[in-house]
């Protein structure tokens, strides 16, 4: 379980996140929405331990982030907004490279299965030559090598076609439901958010999002 309490973040005088409190239970998929610059990426980076909050606490499974950084990080998978892969490597080589640096050992078949499950079949194609959607899938697959309990994804479906979007969504949803993972992700696609998420958190005070979400008959939680 992920618990966030009274979290704030400021860059200098610029207050980005104000006093956020929420929690995520195992098996839940949470969607984060908000206008550009609202602070979605900032929040995910704090939850991924890559950035420190100005105030507030974050607890994962009852343990504060500050206590044991290494141990906390072992349970976290972070899919950055940008593609974090070696361009000149093939899909296979990227998987093997990051497996070698990972805490979890996985053999070639297991790595391959991870890609296949996400409908990423071009095992020997170099990343340079992959389509944008394929790159996003691999970006997620690499993050899953060490089997994190908390999965944070920053716009994992940006620039991905409808079919791949469905495949990624189905995969994430299955991961949460069957393996009890906690998933937080951001997207600008409301349809996708509606279909996939158990709850929707809206960052910022832009009334636009509430209007849109209301039209979908959903009650967004304002953070």
């Amino acid at each position: 379980m992920l618990e966030v309490q009274a979290l704030s973040k400021a860059y200098g005088k610029k207050q980005i996140l104000k006093n956020l409190s929420f929690s995520v239970k195992p098996g839940e998929v949470i969607g984060l929405v908000g206008e550009n610059g609202a602070g979605k990426s900032t929040l995910l980076q704090i939850l991924a331990t890559l950035s420190n909050p100005t105030a507030g606490t974050v607890m994962l499974n009852g343990e504060s982030y500050q206590v044991n950084l290494k141990k906390t990080r072992r349970q976290i998978g972070f899919v950055p907004q940008d593609i974090a892969l070696w361009d000149e490597f093939t899909v296979k080589e990227n998987m093997i490279f990051f497996e070698k640096l990972s805490w979890k050992h996985k053999n070639g078949d297991e790595l391959r299965k991870l890609c296949y499950d996400m409908k990423l079949s071009k095992w020997n194609e170099s990343v340079k030559k992959l389509s944008g959607g394929m790159k996003r899938k691999l970006n997620i697959a690499v993050t899953l090598i060490h089997e994190p309990n908390l999965l944070l994804l920053d716009e994992p479906t940006a620039g991905v076609d409808l079919k791949s979007r469905k495949e990624i969504g189905a995969y994430l949803s299955n991961l949460a439901k069957s393996r009890g993972k906690m998933i937080l992700y951001t997207s600008h696609d409301m349809d996708e958010i509606m279909q996939l998420c158990d709850r929707i958190y809206c960052i910022g005070e832009d009334p636009f999002y509430y209007d849109v979400l209301q039209k979908y008959g959903e009650r967004p939680v304002q953070l």
Partner: protein, 372 residues
């Protein structure tokens, strides 16, 4: 560590051509420049023909003496050939060493030892003539001494019976020792390896400059990988970014050092020039560390390459390490910051090394702070 090596090998596999090229570049460039300079030097030498009418120890010595003059390229030929070549101006001058040379020298008979020919374009005639005269004087002097010693020995009924040969050998040995002493003194000042036949470019100076360039260019991985988003994943791996960078620094340094060892052996076999392994290790450590830290300052490989080339050029010119020995425009103050100093003179406690160590410490502290 095993995993780290495996990941580095994966990266190297993708760029093995450029990796191999830059590892071998210092060696190959040093060999090419040294050999080209050797040919150039040979071409610039004055061709002199020598005709030997007798083959004795004395004539052999004289030939060696002429050969060792740095500005002369000597060839042995027959008198007819020699004069023909002289006429065609393919030879600068010709010296015929007559039969009975050795005996005449021994008997202090200085007439008609040598006949010399020159053309109106001759250039080396006088210096070679001087050289031969001085040799003849030295040898006749030696013979004279030997005779006097023998005479004295006989007159005073000495117990020891000195043989003529013995005295000559002894006198040569004394001369040799004195020469050595002289050379030792001059070594002390120049502190560079000098051989009988000085090279246009000092081999280790050349290699130092080339290896400096190659090291800087090979450490472009720091610029590339630090810029890459992929390293962000290290936060969720067994290694921190600091240890990842450090391990790879070690791997690169080890591979570069292996290439250095190969270089030392090949250069020794080809040019008989040796460099202290201790100096080499220290030099390697410092330039690797410097390149590693220096690369941290850049985000663009293009700018990094440009600055690297410029720096190496400056070091080459200001240190004078790889420039023709005579044209040494070396600035003394630069010695204390010269990255080549540990290699060439073994001076490794200077401003340069202190700066590298300081930068390394700062780097470690800063990184640790970041991870806290």
């Amino acid at each position: 560590m095993k995993q780290m090596i495996a990941t580095r090998l994966m990266r190297w596999k993708k760029q093995w051509v450029s990796l191999l090229f830059w590892l071998l570049f210092p060696l190959i460039a040093t060999i090419c420049v040294t050999m080209a300079a050797g040919t150039l030097q040979d071409d610039a030498k004055v061709p002199v023909g020598v005709v030997l009418e007798e083959q004795t120890e004395a004539t052999e010595e004289l030939v060696q003496e002429i050969k060792s003059a740095p500005f002369i390229r000597m060839t042995l030929l027959s008198e007819d050939e020699a004069l023909y070549d002289l006429e065609k101006h393919e030879l600068d001058s010709v010296f015929v060493i007559h039969e009975g040379f050795a005996q005449n020298v021994q008997q202090d008979n200085r007439n008609r030892l040598i006949t010399s020919y020159r053309s109106d374009l001759s250039f080396a005639y006088s210096p070679v003539k001087e050289m031969i005269i001085s040799y003849v004087q030295q040898e006749t002097g030696r013979s004279k001494t030997a005779f006097i010693v023998q005479e004295l020995d006989q007159r005073y009924n000495g117990q020891e019976n000195w043989a003529f040969e013995e005295i000559v050998t002894k006198s040569k040995a004394i001369q040799q020792n004195e020469n050595l002493l002289e050379t030792d003194l001059s070594f002390h000042d120049t502190s560079a390896t000098t051989t009988d036949n000085p090279r246009l470019f000092p081999v280790w100076g050349l290699w130092g400059v080339f290896s400096l360039l190659a090291t800087l260019l090979l450490f472009d991985w720091v610029v590339k990988e630090k810029r890459s988003k992929a390293l962000l994943r290290l936060a969720f791996s067994r290694w921190s970014k600091t240890s990842y960078l450090l391990y790879n620094f070690v791997l690169y340094t080890v591979v570069l050092f292996l290439a250095d060892l190969i270089t030392v052996s090949i250069v020794y076999v080809m040019f008989e020039e040796w460099v202290s392994l201790v100096h080499l290790v220290i030099y390697r450590l410092f330039i690797s560390a410097a390149a590693f830290l220096f690369a941290h300052l850049f985000r663009s490989t293009f700018i990094y390459y440009t600055v690297s080339f410029a720096l190496v050029l400056i070091v080459t010119i200001v240190s004078g390490a790889a420039l023709p020995t005579e044209a040494s425009s070396r600035l003394a103050w630069f010695d204390s910051v010269n990255p080549l100093a540990p290699l060439l003179s073994g001076d490794y406690i200077n401003l340069w090394s202190i700066a590298v160590v300081l930068a390394a410490v700062l780097w470690l502290i800063r990184k640790e702070h970041y991870h806290a």
